[in-house]
């Protein structure tokens, strides 16, 4: 055995709830009594739910978050192991179909406090200004009910709360910079920079990524072990579990983990009256509340609205337009794999390590609208083997052989915008889950623009891989992320929620998560989901009396309040981009 540089490791002996090696939750959780009405129930404590819970608790609301999965103690529950991380994902049955059925589970669906932010790679690019005006600018998709300027201050706030590490100058979309320093390059990022440079394509490295490059409060900085999407035991990568949930609990929020909400209850007055859920022991319970916010992401949010159908809402809640579950999107996420003569060892460093958005915007010379990004990815052996099965047709001895070359391969992922289509959707299947609720059935098919865009993006990304010096380049088609299913808009006839996430049909029922995004650009959606959650919280805080009384609040933009950030996260210092 080689002499190691550090001594053997023993986990800290403590009865405290650990989030990473040094962060602890010591405040006892507030517990609301049975039968006690609270102000707000939040269904799903993930990327959006964790933020909402923190903001609303800090503003003095009585809030309870319901999470179907566990409240992780990361030191005890998470492992530095690919196969052992299965529990981080939403593994309950869903049915997937259509011409291009999408993979769910580990590919895009989290479970447990922190939700998808526990297993995201952490890329945090902003959306571009053009993303909010696609119909006006390109005649495709739909315009958002808000523009970039509305969301920009929330981006700036969250980039410091998360915090996002990245380059001082980021040239695409609305050019901006990051106040936390970029990460060093791993082998894959090095290849992306080489390939782009060779072809004269602008590229950035070291972020933007939701991984602390320096210690941040009681969170350690990154140790470059490469297990980002298996849950960051280090606490360097942001999940709302480590960034916002501890402050939420400090401020009196309650989280009921292992509690699956099966129905939103509606009272005789037509308003939401609370939720029905199955607790950790399998008992059905109710929680009354003045407001309900659904934050279950693009599959479970529509599913819960549909499963909550009742008298007066026979087609499901908030579904008078028939739009619930529709306009579901993923991004073209083909993985392009290149083999190099010299070892790369792509298991080291964060998978989210470098990217280019040089092809993000519509190019009039192309025969398709919109664009794509190219990013680094870093599959560990099991994921890589499955990619090789598809990309190379490897099996048997051929699989053993290509896997022995694992350390010679580098992987890029493209992120190609797929447009919102009405018939790409979530419906209810005939089959039911362990609680007796119909499971989601997802139908997904690519249209012409999507196919042309993905084909172009694939060819361009392969070109970059060749230019980086690869001696063999193969690719695996796949999809990344989930968006839509309860989209926001001004028109109640073609959208589910308004620009603040309030459902058009029921004034005290909100949706706030990736399901409300009308389009998705070719940016990873995590930052935008969290930014919209802060904004919905600000709206509710500013319109406290109206919202708690079940009336619509003001449609004015709320002020961006910095005093609601977790302590110590708000600082100056965003680099300004001068051109």
């Amino acid at each position: 055995m080689k002499r190691p540089l550090l001594g053997p490791f023993t986990a800290p002996r403590t009865s405290a709830h650990l989030l990473g090696p040094i962060q602890k939750i010591t405040t006892p959780m507030r517990r609301y009594g049975a039968g006690e009405e609270v102000d707000i129930c939040i269904v799903g404590v993930g990327s959006a739910g964790g933020i909402l819970l923190q903001r609303l608790a800090r503003a003095g609301f009585r809030v309870v978050g319901f999470e179907a999965g566990p409240f992780w103690d990361t030191e005890r529950d998470w492992v530095s192991d690919e196969a052992g991380s299965h529990r981080l994902y939403w593994n309950d049955l869903r049915i997937t179909g259509g011409d291009n059925p999408i993979a769910l589970g580990a590919n895009n669906s989290g479970r447990g406090v922190g939700g998808g932010s526990v297993h995201w790679a952490g890329f945090t690019p902003r959306f571009h200004p053009s993303d909010f005006r696609e119909y006006t600018e390109d005649g495709v998709g739909v315009d958002w009910p808000i523009d970039y300027q509305v969301i920009k201050p929330y981006y700036e706030l969250l980039e410091r709360e998360i915090p996002v590490a990245g380059p001082a100058y980021f040239p695409w979309g609305h050019p901006h910079g990051y106040s936390y320093g970029p990460h060093p390059l791993g082998g894959v990022a090095d290849k992306l920079v080489r390939g782009c440079t060779e072809l004269g394509i602008e590229v950035v490295a070291g972020g933007p990524v939701a991984i602390a490059s320096g210690a941040y409060g009681d969170r350690q900085h990154c140790i470059y072990r490469g297990f980002c999407i298996q849950g960051c035991k280090v606490g360097a990568k942001q999940s709302t579990l480590v960034s916002h949930v501890p402050d939420a609990i400090d401020r009196g929020a309650e989280i009921r983990d292992c509690c699956m909400v099966t129905r939103i209850d509606v009272g005789k007055n037509g308003l939401a009256s609370g939720v029905t859920y199955i607790d950790a022991d399998g008992h059905e319970r109710e929680q009354r509340s003045k407001v309900v916010i659904v934050a279950g992401y693009a599959i479970e949010t529509p599913r819960l609205l549909l499963n909550s159908a009742c008298q007066g809402h026979e087609q499901g809640l908030a579904n008078s337009s028939g739009t619930v579950g529709r306009y579901l999107m993923v991004q073209g996420g083909n993985v392009i794999l290149g083999r190099f003569d010299q070892p790369v060892r792509m298991y080291k460093a964060p998978p989210a390590n470098a990217l280019t958005e040089a092809f993000y915007e519509t190019n009039p010379a192309h025969d398709f609208a919109r664009g794509f990004a190219i990013q680094t990815v870093g599959p560990l052996p099991i994921a890589f083997a499955k990619q090789m099965m598809v990309a190379k047709g490897a099996w048997g001895w051929g699989m053993r052989r290509v896997m022995m070359d694992y350390n010679h391969w580098a992987a890029f992922g493209l992120l190609a915008e797929i447009l919102p289509w009405e018939d790409n959707r979530v419906e209810l299947a005939e089959e039911v889950d362990q609680f007796g609720s119909p499971v989601a059935k997802i139908t997904f098919s690519l249209k012409e623009n999507d196919q042309k865009l993905i084909e172009f993006a694939k060819q361009k990304t392969m070109e970059v891989m060749w230019a980086a010096g690869a001696k063999e380049v193969v690719q695996e088609p796949r999809y990344a992320h989930l968006i839509g299913g309860a989209r926001m808009g001004h028109d109640p006839n073609s959208s589910v929620v308004d620009k603040f996430g309030r459902t058009h049909d029921i004034p005290n029922l909100f949706c706030c998560d990736g399901s409300i995004l009308p389009t998705q650009g070719s940016a990873n959606p995590g930052l935008t989901i969290q930014a919209l959650a802060v904004r919905t919280a600000e709206h509710i805080i500013m319109n406290r009396d109206a919202v708690l009384a079940g009336r619509p609040g003001s449609m004015e933009e709320p002020a961006v309040r910095k005093d609601l950030s977790p302590p110590g996260t708000f600082t100056r210092g965003i680099p300004q981009f001068v051109k």
Binding site: P101, L104, A106, N107, C222, G333, M389, G398
Partner: protein, 260 residues
């Protein structure tokens, strides 16, 4: 430790040294990283990870899903999906118990294709399909065939053109079944520290982490690659790379971990 029948290595199935034509004897650790041992680093792993990985190495789940006949067929099948004839007896990675455990406990990846039955049914039906092809081509059951013939049977699945069992493949689309069984075998094999040593993957890395990020350099406790030439057994079919057959839309059906 293992209580199930196990397909024995046969010298006909051994890889060869292309320069001499001699077979390469089974070894403890195939691959280009001699002396590299992720398990030797176990004292530097965190406790939760250590418990999960060591259980995987030292304890095999009991067979509870497959019938004895199916176990025998699964052993023969996985021995071709991921041949281990180049590994010595002590260092072969059991694949069937892990797959059995997944099917028995009903663990899935969070979705099912609308044209597929539940995974357990898919296995039961699809295994019959493999035997149907074997009977059609060689008038024998799959497990009674030699490795070359078995490869030929599986090759028809890989191409998405099985010459028999039409009624079976109507219930379980052959391309999806082929990916399902390969994916399960891969998840078992490449989850094992012996496989990590073989491919030079560092294994668990918390709380120590890495510091040599660029240039593919080994950490002080890792080893440099030492390549050697090897060829698959001369009659093996699976050492040739050919794209999966079947309708192209089926190609996205591999189980997918997150990427971006």
């Amino acid at each position: 430790m293992t209580t199930y029948p196990s397909a024995r290595p046969n010298s006909d199935n051994l890889p060869v040294d292309p320069s001499t034509g001699e077979t390469r004897p089974p070894q403890a650790q195939p691959g280009y990283y001699p002396g590299f041992s992720t398990l030797s680093q176990e004292p530097f792993w965190d406790e939760a990870t250590r418990a999960v990985v060591l259980r995987r190495v030292h304890e095999q789940p009991p067979i509870r899903f497959f019938t004895p006949d199916e176990v025998a067929l699964m052993e023969a099948l996985t021995a071709r999906l991921l041949p281990q004839d180049d590994r010595d007896d002590e260092h072969r990675i059991p694949l069937v118990p892990t797959i059995d455990d997944r099917l028995f406990t009903g663990r899935i990846d969070g979705y099912r294709f609308e044209d597929m039955p539940p995974d357990g049914d898919a296995y039961r039906i699809g295994l019959r399909g493999i035997d149907a092809v074997a009977e059609h081509l060689y008038r024998r059951r799959f497990m009674d065939l030699g490795a070359t013939e078995q490869d030929e049977v599986l090759w028809t699945l890989h191409r998405g053109e099985p010459p028999a069992g039409e009624d079976i493949w109507r219930q379980v689309p052959v391309s999806r079944f082929w990916l399902l069984i390969n994916q399960d075998a891969l998840e078992s094999y490449y989850a094992h520290p012996y496989a990590w040593d073989e491919v030079g993957f560092g294994g668990p890395a918390y709380p120590r982490g890495y510091f040599r990020l660029e240039g593919g350099q080994p950490e002080p406790w890792e080893v440099r690659e030492q390549r050697y030439n090897w060829a698959a057994p001369p009659d093996a079919r699976s050492d040739r790379y050919e794209h999966l057959g079947g309708p192209s839309t089926h190609h996205v059906s591999a189980g997918q971990e997150g990427s971006h």
